[in-house]
């Protein structure tokens, strides 16, 4: 079970309290009714599904109930950083890797 830091509660809490809510930073057009079929397809259907760093939305469902964003490594499952909804993608990610080579 993952530990996730809620940027609103400013606490690490167990995964059970959270719900994943899909990829982050996919903006809904202010003029959505006027979008072309291609643009709507990109907005609604196409997701990056990366191997590695993903920006995604989580909700602290059984806590403060706020939606927030997280950067997670899909390979190691590690959360690199979490930040509030509406904030831009972090320009620089902290390096977290505790891979240690044994003797």
């Amino acid at each position: 079970m993952l530990l996730i830091r809620c940027p609103y509660c400013e606490e690490e809490r167990p995964e059970l309290e959270f719900r994943n809510a899909g990829e982050a930073h996919i903006a809904r057009s202010a003029n959505i009714a006027g979008e072309s079929d291609d643009d709507f397809e990109k907005f609604f259907f196409i997701r990056s599904n990366p191997k590695g760093i993903i920006h995604e939305r989580w909700r602290h469902m059984h806590g403060c109930a706020r939606f927030f964003n997280a950067v997670r490594d899909t390979v190691s499952d590690k959360f690199i950083i979490t930040y509030k909804a509406g904030e831009p993608k972090p320009a620089k990610l902290p390096k977290i890797s505790n891979e240690v080579v044994a003797k």
């Binding site: 809510a21 009714a33 079929d37 709507f40 939606f67 891979e99 080579v101 044994a102």
Partner: protein, 997 residues
């Protein structure tokens, strides 16, 4: 005396308390402290099971958790019957009753053993290749027969009467494994004051110190030191010591699952004790001290009862005081078997010969064995074992060929070397590395905050192990934030040291294809099977594993994986690291369902939600149905009525006089704030800005893709306040959907959302007499049609308590929905019921509610829609605001496919024969004479008998449905085709006059 093979003065069960137990009905004496295995061996019993596939007689291979053979059923009573218990782990108690498995009619004469003779038929991949045709026979014949013949224990057939508990724990340092390494690490960490948990799967701590008679620490023998050190740890406030506790799974971020066996070793556990306790531990640092597991030698008939790991024989002798034979042979490629031979010899057991595959090994144990007069044969192999139900001899040959010699023995101790237990490390997503010199996989790259120490890290020798473990324990505590240690490191006075061993098949494993040299005992996989898998084209070890099932039994290949890998590598002509090791998965050893489930069973499995009016309905004899977590009154049978009679009566009464219906489960959300109307505009298809306070509107919510997500009546109580209702099942997801848009897409809107589902009890009063029933109880609301028209809402009082009174209808009759605070729900219901009785009103349930709404063509989201239905498909275009420029779903709804011709549309269906009621979900075709498979053009979504219409009615999604009015379609069913006519969706009171009737 507790068994003829118990050696006086040997072992540690010093003050024997006898315990009688039975195996296959026969009674034996044992000693408290024994395992079932040691107690059986003390009585000379080696034959304990039959193998999975060939039904070969099997004995004990090990003395621990890695045991692949000795699986038995432990029976406390008819319901407490546990199959596949490892006899080497099960502790003895007085009265224990065990039975062997997978044999018929008896253990010593098993008819299934014919599989052994016919074994050329059953080579690797046999099932995949053989039972291919006829196709239908797999399901009806082959699979049931194979399942009956193969397999091990039989699952219990009664509910488990035991209870299981669960705990969460947090600590600075979690030490897994309670041998010398684990204890040393725990001491170092504990002395810093850090919070430490030390867990070991055995009843007593010590690990390999249980059999290592040559070890001495801090002036005590190894095992004695382990007990003293553990006692000291137990006395410390910052330490929790868990015995009989297996760490079975290592999950993300140092989250470890452990199962503590609380009462399986007790004669009378009592009702208060749980059987097992699940520990879910989150540790800042984890120290893995999981030790190593000895490997067997792979040679012909190496599975005969009496052939076992050298360390197991040593454990039975040094810990339990049991000799595994009177005349034992030893077959080894490793020094550790010499230590076993020496201990047995000193205890008075004859050691017939040591057969060592190595050419000219040297070392102190070899010298000591020679000094004791044990015959030693270097460069020789045991090429086969004699005997069937018990080993009777070993046949020895120089390893490069030559003359054979058969030596009579009653047990063979074997050791091919030791495999570090990297299971938990691998589960933590660490990557193992192959050490070419020692031929071992050891921890390589760590993925989590953990460290491996001792044998599981490839560290040899007691001194080096304790040095490493003590330093690692102190560092783990420091990394977790503790101060420096202030204790002293245990001092090793004497220890044993062993050199390496071998991997793969020994010479006695044949190239001969009839030889059975077992690699995996539990799944009956031989060296030949693995070679064959390679010859048949398997290249990856993952494919070899699945084709042969090597390592896939419940022991997860603890003894077999490395041998299997080495044989595959040799056959492929590749070095071992290039073939690669399979990934270890949780659980390390089998875990009961009970411990995972804990208390979450029966009524505690899932919450049950009941409305405020539930007790009244129950008292009236209502039959309930589950709707999500809710219990809803389904119908109210009177005087022996069945569901049809009750529902017919309820439906007729509502349209004739009135009915009361508990609608409390409806989802309710309060949308409040200066921008509430703007928010509603964005979340629903309908226009809201111009809806006057005091009026209601039926709203449709879409997802962004343009499909219907939910619906419900919304009342505007004030310019800035909406009372939103949702479907019963949709309440949580609608709330989530609203919160999502409010928080992330429309955060500029000043709106608050509050779930009020449980705050309001809702009593629907429907029917021509509904106003007459309600009016006498209401204060402060003008109930006239002019003041309170259809689709309006007023706040006032009913029975003296606050109410939001909705004039609305889900039946097509004049109707009201009385919302009152839930605490007053039952009282107001009873008052309304009393009034209703004066008019002949009935209580009706969800079934009648469904029929009444279907008579009016009102849809139910999730029944008449399925997530691919647009408002237009459902005939609800009128509810979409044409002038709106934005709402969730506005663009999705305009996608080419969603506006294309020929989409499935909701229509009514009338069967030609009015008495025939269609089946919901039945498929519809245009031409019943077409060839199968027919082109299906739709399906029935709702179907009922309507007593009010005097016929059956149905709703259906049909391609191009609205252009087919009056058309005849067909519903093919197993016993005949049903003819239907496409109609409008309203079957009763088409003009809607009764809303004001």
């Amino acid at each position: 005396m507790s068994g003829a093979f118990r050696i006086p003065g040997a072992g540690r069960l010093s003050q024997p308390k006898t315990a009688r137990f039975s195996f296959d009905g026969q009674s034996y004496p044992g000693i408290e402290g024994d395992t079932l295995a040691s107690a059986l061996l003390a009585n000379g019993v080696h034959l304990v099971g039959r193998s999975f596939k060939y039904h070969r007689p099997r004995g004990f291979l090990s003395a621990g958790a890695e045991e692949p053979n000795a699986l038995v059923e432990i029976r406390r009573d008819a319901a407490r019957r546990t199959p596949n218990v490892r006899a080497t782990v099960q502790e003895l108690y007085d009265g224990l009753a065990a039975q062997s498995q997978n044999r018929w009619p008896s253990l010593s004469f098993d008819v299934g053993a014919v599989n052994d003779i016919a074994s050329p038929l059953f080579s690797a991949g046999f099932y995949y290749k053989t039972f291919m045709w006829p196709k239908a026979a797999w399901k009806n014949l082959y699979e049931p027969k194979i399942r009956a013949a193969a397999g091990l224990g039989v699952a219990p057939d009664q509910p488990d009467p035991d209870h299981y508990s669960a705990r969460f724990a947090h600590c600075d340092v979690l030490v897994l494994g309670g041998g010398a390494a684990g204890i040393a690490a725990a001491l170092a960490a504990a002395e810093t004051g850090a919070r430490v948990i030390l867990a070991d799967e055995q009843a007593e701590f010590g690990g390999s110190l249980r059999f290592e008679s040559g070890a001495s620490i801090d002036g005590e023998d190894g095992f004695g030191w382990a007990q003293a050190a553990t006692a000291r740890l137990k006395d410390m406030d910052n330490v929790r010591v868990l015995s009989r506790t297996t760490a079975f799974g290592y999950y993300a971020q140092n989250f470890v699952g452990l199962v503590e066996r609380v009462s399986d070793h007790l004669q009378n556990p009592g009702r208060d004790l749980p059987r097992e306790r699940l520990w879910q531990v989150r540790a800042k640092r984890v120290v893995l001290a999981t030790g190593a597991i000895e490997r067997h030698m792979v040679f012909a008939d190496n599975d005969r009862p009496g052939i076992m790991l050298a360390s197991a024989a040593r454990t039975y002798l040094n810990h339990y005081g049991v000799a595994v034979g009177r005349n034992v042979g030893v077959y080894t490629a490793n020094d550790s078997a010499y230590a076993a031979a020496i201990d047995l010899k000193k205890a008075g057991v004859n050691v017939a010969a040591i057969v060592d595959l190595r050419d000219n090994p040297t070392g102190p144990v070899i010298d000591e064995a020679r000094a004791l007069g044990i015959e030693i044969n270097f460069g020789r192999a045991v090429i086969r074992a004699g005997g069937k139900l018990r080993v009777s001899s070993m046949t020895v040959q120089p390893k490069n060929g030559g003359g054979e010699r058969t030596i009579p023995v009653d047990a063979i101790l074997m050791s091919a070397g030791w495999t570090p237990s990297v299971h938990l490390f691998s589960q933590s997503r660490g990557k193992v590395a192959f050490n070419d010199e020692t031929k071992r996989f050891v921890p390589g790259i760590y993925a989590q905050d953990c460290v491996s120490v001792g044998a599981c890290n490839g560290t040899d020798g007691l001194s080096a192990t304790i040095d490493e473990a003590y330093a690692a324990g102190a560092k783990a505590a420091k990394d977790a934030g503790a101060k420096a240690a202030k204790g002293t490191k245990p001092k090793v006075d004497a220890s044993e040291s062993w050199s390496r061993g071998m991997l793969g098949a020994a010479p006695g494993a044949g190239p001969d294809t009839t030889v059975k040299a077992f690699v995996d005992f539990q799944n009956d996989v031989t060296a030949k099977d693995i070679r064959q898998a390679v010859h048949e084209g398997m290249r990856s070890i993952e494919h070899v594993k699945r084709f042969t099932t090597n390592g896939m039994a419940t022991d997860q290949g603890k003894t077999s994986n490395m041998h299997g890998l080495a044989i595959a590598a040799e056959t492929l002509g590749k070095p071992i690291p290039q073939v690669g090791l399979t990934t270890f998965r949780a659980p390390y050893t089998p875990v009961t369902f009970g411990s995972i489930v804990g208390h979450a069973r029966g009524p505690l499995f899932d919450p049950t939600r009941k409305t405020a009016i539930h007790p009244w309905a129950e008292a009236q004899g209502a039959v309930f149905e589950d709707v999500g977590q809710w219990k809803r009154a389904w119908y109210f049978p009177k005087g022996g009525e069945d569901i049809h009679a009750a529902v017919d009566r309820e439906c007729v009464a509502v349209r004739k006089t009135a009915g009361l219906f508990d609608a409390s489960t409806l989802g309710k959300i309060e949308v409040v704030g200066p921008d509430a109307a703007k928010f509603m505009e964005l979340l629903y298809t309908n226009p809201w800005e111009k809806l006057e306070p005091g009026r209601c509107r039926y709203g449709i919510m879409l997802r962004e893709d343009g499909f219907i997500y939910d619906d419900g009546v919304v009342g505007r109580l004030a310019p800035d306040r909406f009372h939103v209702t949702t479907t019963t099942g949709g309440a949580p997801r609608v709330m989530n959907h609203m919160e999502d848009y409010l928080q992330t897409e429309f955060p500029h809107l000043d709106v608050w959302l509050t779930s009020t589902t449980e705050q309001w009890a809702v009593i629907a009063v429907q029917g021509p007499k509904s106003r007459d029933i309600i009016a006498p109880l209401v204060e402060g609301i003008d109930m006239s049609d002019e003041a309170l028209p259809h689709m309006s809402v007023r706040e006032g009082k009913i029975c003296g308590v606050p109410t939001r009174l909705f004039r609305m209808s889900f039946s097509g009759e004049r109707g009201f929905e009385v919302n009152v605070p839930a605490d007053y729900g039952q009282a107001v219901w009873e008052a309304l019921w009393a009034e209703g009785q004066k008019h002949g009103a009935v209580a009706y349930g969800t079934e009648a509610m469904h029929v009444l709404r279907a008579e009016k063509g009102y849809i139910i989201v999730g029944q008449d829609t399925d997530g691919t239905v647009t408002p237009n498909d459902a005939g609800l275009d009128w509810a979409v605001g044409k002038k709106k420029t934005d709402f969730v779903g506005i663009r999705g709804m305009a996608r080419p496919d969603l506006v294309a011709k020929g989409r499935k549309q909701l229509v009514g269906l009338k069967t030609r024969d009015p008495k025939v009621v269609l089946e919901e979900g039945a498929q519809i075709v245009a031409d019943p004479k077409q060839a199968i498979p027919m082109t299906m053009i739709g399906h029935v979504t709702s179907s009922y008998w309507s007593e009010n219409c005097g016929r059956s009615i149905a709703l259906a999604l049909v391609a191009g449905g609205r252009d087919r009015m009056g058309e005849t379609l067909y519903v093919p069913m197993p016993n005949g085709t049903i003819e239907v006519e496409v109609t409008g969706m309203v079957f009763f009171d088409e003009k809607g006059e009764r809303l004001n009737g």
